[in-house]
């Protein structure tokens, strides 16, 4: 996509590009493997495609946000629709508005969900639907955002809230949890956002969340599950940001008793190294008098 402005380093893996209907040569060379990327729309007739897909290990998800020209939208959309799951039904009305939907939906294929966000023009007649969808887009759906930034799979995240994987996945597709669960979702989202900000990416966040904080301690994700938010926050404050003031703990040292002979020898070495006696003829006696060397007996 010539003219695209890269806002976040990332890459559209070659294996995914054809699936999205995009030639691989269009991705900026500066993108880094394993990252999602965001492309800023440059004309009103553009569409942002937000796609999730499984990582190679199948353990976490990655986000891809791709912009395609309006007149090219049919090609990627057809490709995407082939992989749509039930969660993406919300976007179907929009897709169907300009695509022949018949025969395009294959719910048996999992692992890829699609949202289409439409700008005002040339799809003005769908703007209301687009606005509604946008408000529930990645940023607007807390569970989706949580899944994106935490790097954790849905099962693990569902555990945090004491709900089933299916329920959590419904949350990521826009279903709204209510009451205490919604409150908890927002609390945890905020805590993990802080961690991701410090660590820089979802994979590092996932690694940290699943690593015990001390040899026999809990994992951060278990602290969240047990509602030990203060402790979680405390540990997270030691991540990433280099300390600027506080020095690292110094090794504890016991006081060493120095024998008088050793002390005399050390002072002698210092004097010979600094040339103090030679360079300051007026004050050697004064300097010597300032040093009190204990007697060998005492």
């Amino acid at each position: 996509m010539p003219g695209d402005v890269l806002e976040r380093p990332g890459v559209l893996p070659p294996s995914q590009a054809p699936r999205l209907g995009l030639p691989t040569g269009d991705r900026p060379a500066s993108m880094v493997a394993g990252e999602g990327y965001l492309v800023r729309p440059e004309w009103s007739g553009a569409v942002d495609v937000i796609a999730w897909d499984q990582s190679p290990t199948g353990d976490d998800t990655r986000l891809y946000l791709v912009q395609v020209k309006a007149f090219d939208v049919a090609a990627p959309a057809i490709g995407l629709l082939a992989g749509i799951t039930g969660y993406a039904r919300i976007v179907l009305p929009i897709l169907e508005a300009f695509l022949p939907s018949e025969g395009l939906l294959d719910e048996a294929v999992t692992g890829c969900r699609v949202l289409i966000r439409l700008p005002a023009s040339p799809f003005r007649r769908y703007s209301q639907a687009a606005k509604s969808l946008e408000s529930e887009s990645l940023v607007g759906i807390p569970a989706a955002r949580l899944r994106q930034i935490s790097g954790l799979d849905a099962s693990r995240l569902a555990e945090l809230f004491g709900v089933s994987r299916v329920t959590f996945q419904a949350w990521t597709a826009g279903a709204t949890p209510h009451g205490a669960r919604r409150e908890r979702l927002l609390e945890i989202l905020k805590l993990i956002e802080e961690v991701t900000t410090r660590l820089g990416n979802a994979q590092s966040t996932a690694d940290w969340l699943l690593t015990p904080v001390t040899p026999k301690g809990k994992k951060p994700v278990e602290l969240l599950r047990d509602r030990q938010d203060d402790t979680f926050r405390g540990y997270s404050l030691r991540l990433g940001t280099p300390r600027r003031f506080v020095r690292a703990p110094r090794p504890s040292r016991s006081r060493r008793v120095v024998a008088p002979e050793e002390l005399r020898a050390a002072i002698g070495r210092l004097r010979s190294q600094t040339g103090y006696l030679e360079d300051n003829p007026a004050s050697p006696q004064q300097g010597a008098a300032d040093v009190e060397i204990p007697d060998a007996e005492g």
Binding site: F245, R250, S252
Partner: protein
């Protein structure tokens, strides 16, 4: 007895920094300007000796006095240094007060603990804001009691530091009082005695902090100093420290002027000299902010036991 020998005799008798005296009934004195009539011409100069008078307050029956003078000052020639300085001290079973004094309060110091007749833990607390001077010769006939646990050298060392720290620690600037200390003090005050955070905070001897005030929110780094007193049973571990740091960071963040970006748990053996000397102490029991009345814990300090 020769005057010079008096000071040395006091030392031989056991008087030292931290010695306890029960002076009953004793009085604390201070100077105050007496009210003057409008036609009193000496008022304008402010130097008329008749403007000042001595006020006195009788110490409560349960109060003690703890020696704050150093041994060398006690021993010094009474013609040159005639008084021994003491602070008011009192036993209390107020858990919050004991906890505050046991941490880095600039004004109060937990001298020692005991268990009362009814099984309730009590603390002997010295008040740095209230100083009394006693003539050295008056102490000669009295037997000092130990104000500090003689087996806990850390407390004796900390007491000496605390006495000096009242004047030599850097005052926390107003912007940091408003952005950091105020919110922490108010949050600590809201903690209940039964709150497990209250218990956890007994494992902290001092909280020190640095702040980058180039722009708001200020970036704050905290140092939690482990409490090394022998009479503190709780040994703060990493998880406990993380909980305190996480809680403090949220309290500070809610103030909207500062945010915690890092913390460490250290003790007197592991802190660097640079950190210890340059960090601001974070008193948890009071703050003073220009334009606001002093926010001091309202718990009455002096109680009858």
């Amino acid at each position: 007895m020769e005057p010079r020998g008096l000071g040395e005799a006091l030392i031989q008798q056991g008087w030292d920094q931290g010695s306890l005296l029960t002076a009953r009934p004793a009085q604390q004195s201070w100077l105050a300007r007496r009210p003057v009539s409008s036609d009193d011409t000496t008022e304008a100069s402010g130097s008329g000796p008749e403007l000042w008078e001595t006020h006195q307050q009788v110490l409560a029956p349960g109060e003690h006095l703890v020696v704050s003078s150093q041994a060398c000052d006690i021993a010094r020639d009474p013609t040159k240094e005639p008084f021994v300085e003491l602070l008011r001290a009192s036993w209390t079973d107020d858990k919050q007060l004991i906890n505050e004094a046991g941490r880095n309060s600039i004004r109060r110091f937990l001298l020692r603990r005991r268990t009362g007749d009814d099984g309730v833990p009590e603390g002997l607390i010295a008040d740095a804001t209230s100083r009394i001077y006693v003539e050295k010769s008056s102490l000669l006939g009295l037997t000092p009691e130990p104000g500090l646990d003689p087996s806990d050298q850390f407390v004796a060392h900390k007491f000496r530091r605390w006495l000096a720290d009242r004047y030599n620690r850097p005052a926390v600037p107003d912007n940091l009082v408003a952005g950091v200390q105020k919110h922490v003090v108010e949050a600590v005050r809201k903690l209940k005695a039964t709150d497990d955070l209250t218990e956890l905070l007994t494992g902290v001897d001092q909280i020190l902090f640095f702040a980058d005030v180039a722009q708001e929110p200020y970036e704050v780094e905290l140092i939690l100093m482990r409490n090394e007193r022998q009479d503190v049973s709780l040994e703060l571990d990493e998880e406990g420290a993380a909980r305190i740091a996480g809680w403090l960071s949220e309290v500070i963040r809610e103030g909207a002027m500062a945010k915690v970006v890092h913390w460490e748990i250290l003790d007197s053996r592991t802190i660097s000299l640079y950190d210890y000397v340059t960090a601001y102490p974070l008193p948890l029991d009071y703050y003073t902010l220009r334009g606001e009345p002093d926010a001091i814990a309202e718990t009455p300090f002096v109680r009858e036991i």
